[in-house]
Amino acid sequence: MLRTQTLPSYSDAVADGTSEADGAGGFTAALAGNNFRWMAAPALLFAGAMIVFPFGYAVWLALSEVQLGSVPRFIGIGNFRRMLADVEFWNGLYLTLLLYVVSLSLQLVIGTWLGLLLARFQTARGLVRTVMVSPFMLPPVVVGMMAIVILDPSFGIANWLLAKLGLPPALWLSNPDTVMLTIAALDTWQWTPFVALIVMGGYLSLPHDVFESAEMDGAHGWTRFRYVTLPLLGPTLITAAVLRSVDILRFFDIIYLTTQGGPGFSSTTLNILAYRRAFEFFELGYASAIMVTLSAIVFGSVLVFARLRRAVAW
């Protein structure tokens, strides 16, 4: 149906040793061959220095007992064994995944709705987009401080507004039962506009003739969204999901600023737990084991979405 569907991707072409410019030979052919591979060496070295070494060091620490001021002592999987028996780890894992599922779902659903709405919104489009960008331009520290001031049960404006509406006050970040939902709401407030902008960009780049054909075939409203818009937006949504997944799973600053993992352990996600173990209790080996596990979860989620992306590609 679409021309782009039949075109091989650039990476496929490179892998096959072919390209659209093959007939002309020259640079592209050389690039596809082995002649210029050495040019990638600086980039690979840089990536190695910036990614592989720190991660490798974290893995080494995770496999070691680290006494402050001394050389780490290799203990194999001792820290991981301890982790599996640690109720704080399982609590942290549950909270991390809860935050991930709730935040990501809210951001994708609301972001898609908002993005499609914005794509059709013609009046003062520039101004609206600027306003949309502002929440995720704010540094997390500012968002955290705003949350502390607004949501404080004693002197925050949120409860004042509830009182004006005749509603009972809420404990927001201070109630163990609602703290994670409040944090998810904060993250959703800050990052839904980001998803919306991605969706809007993706939607505006879609071919219009498809929608015209759908209209002519009698697809309107929800039907058109369900069977035309959503499938076409699939790759865009997966891209947004990947970007947000990495961010949500390593979400730290706002939680630490607002609750420090409390009340009790009710917002002690894996990130908070690892931070406290490393910098408050000086258990660098155990904290590294937690972080390596979290990294594996992040990597796993990206792999899942990469497979999904292939499934929804058109």
């Binding site: 001021g69 404080d152 049960p153 002197f155 201070s174 009340p263 009790g264 910098f279």
Partner: protein, 433 residues
């Protein structure tokens, strides 16, 4: 006479000949002229004042000092990273030796100040280390090694609104047990007036809670050195602190630390608190608080008559990895000198030097307002009777304090009775020994 004069001249010349080389080796503030040192501080009234005054140090010594100030969490994270990495970039850092001293000492992160102090060419003649309070010196001494110099002394104090007490016809609490009674009376007198606020975050709570346990006759350790939170008198103190927070504290108190507590007291939303002496300057900046607040050491138990407040002090240390230790030592001497401490009082920093506390400048400052005098008296008392121990015996102090604060949270949240929470905490604390 002429004979004596000749003899005197000879003696003077001899004395000069002997003293000449000695004077050349004597202490000189400009001995490290041209050096640059890096200092890393926790956000604190002392470090804020240092930032404003450090130009005086450079003018006096010729040593440039670059100061970085971080909030406590970032400060600790950065400090741990730099020191574990063996970085020589940082020369001087703040340290709460009563908390992390044992761990940092074992890690070899502190430069030993004792040899520097003993070196007359590096130490100013009127330095007088004994001028610092004995308990504060003790917290920074491990064996024969002196790891840091005290920069302040602090401890939690009982602050109460005298005007509210007068309006509600409530007597000033004279015993620990009067505080819950006063809170109840305030609520009965004015339902819209908050009665009590205190720390609720796990790790920072024992600082404010310890005196409740001590004054109730309890302790964090049994006589044979085991965790003692579940001893009957300890449970009584734990229960009183938890109940005050649960029954009379502000909503969301379990997420509160000193910043929220001070805000609540400063804004007039609560009538009582037990919070750091260090926050005095911040509290009295709020309108009316300098006139209507009272401040003193937490009252003793009615029957026990025990008054055992917490008294600690931040210190400033030289990194063991520093390559500029003599220049760093000059900074430590200047920053803890009598002259500088006398100026720091204006910023609300309680001086750890006895001579400053008893000096004219401090007394003149304290006399200006009754509340300043009361604050100074309270500090003198905690310096005399206070303790820096507020956890069961262990080297893993931050973790132990976290567990003790966790027991308080379990009670406030209704997850455990005071006895159950204390027993569970003791079982976990025993694993840290």
């Amino acid at each position: 006479m002429r004979k004596f004069g000749l003899f005197g001249s000879v003696l003077f010349a001899a004395a000069l000949a002997v003293a000449g080389p000695a004077a050349a080796q004597g202490f000189n503030w400009r001995s490290q002229d041209g050096q640059t040192i890096n200092l890393m501080f926790n956000n604190h009234p002392w470090s804020q004042a240092m930032r404003d005054m450090v130009a005086d140090f450079t003018a006096k010594t010729g040593v440039k000092a670059r100061i970085e100030i971080f909030n406590e969490e970032q400060f600790r994270a950065r400090l741990t990273t730099l020191m574990q990495g063996g970085s020589a970039d940082m020369d001087v850092y703040m340290s709460l030796t009563s908390r992390e001293g044992a761990v940092f000492h074992r890690a070899g992160w502190y430069a030993d100040l004792a040899p520097l102090m003993a070196d007359k060419s590096l130490t100013m003649p009127d330095f007088n280390y004994e001028d610092f309070g004995a308990s504060i010196r003790q917290a920074s001494t491990f064996g024969k090694q002196i790891v840091a110099l005290p920069i302040n002394q602090e401890g939690p104090l009982f602050y109460w609104r005298k005007d509210i007490f007068e309006r509600c016809k409530i007597a000033e609490p004279a015993a620990l047990e009067d505080i819950p009674a006063a809170a109840a009376a305030i609520k009965a007198c004015d339902a819209n007036q908050g009665a009590w606020a205190a720390r609720g975050i796990r790790g920072v709570t024992p600082y404010a809670m310890a005196a409740f346990i001590y004054n109730s006759g309890g302790s964090f350790a049994t006589p044979d050195g085991k965790p003692g939170l579940s001893q009957p008198n300890s449970v009584r103190g734990l229960e009183m602190y938890s109940s005050l927070l649960k029954d009379y504290g502000p909503p969301g108190a379990l997420n509160h630390t000193f910043t929220q507590v001070i805000e609540l007291l400063g804004q007039g939303r609560v009538a009582m608190t037990h919070e750091s002496s260090n926050e005095f300057a911040n509290i009295v900046r709020f309108p009316n608080r300098a006139g209507d607040l009272g401040v003193k050491v937490l009252p003793p138990g009615r029957e026990t008559r025990i008054s055992k407040p917490v008294a600690i002090g931040w210190t400033v240390a030289i990194s063991a990895h520093s390559k500029r230790q003599p220049a760093a030592w000059l900074f430590l001497q200047w920053a803890t000198s009598r002259e500088v401490q006398a100026k720091l009082v204006q910023a609300g920093v309680a001086p750890p030097r006895a001579s400053v506390f008893e000096g004219e400048e401090f007394n003149a400052w304290a006399k200006e307002l009754p509340i300043r005098r009361a604050w100074a008296n309270a500090l003198i008392e905690i310096g005399r009777t206070g303790t820096g121990v507020y956890q069961s015996p262990t080297d893993r102090i931050p973790e132990a304090r976290d567990l003790i604060g966790g027991a308080m949270q379990a009670i406030v949240q209704g997850r455990a009775t005071p006895a159950e929470a204390a027993r569970a905490a003791d079982a976990d604390l025993a694993k840290l020994q």
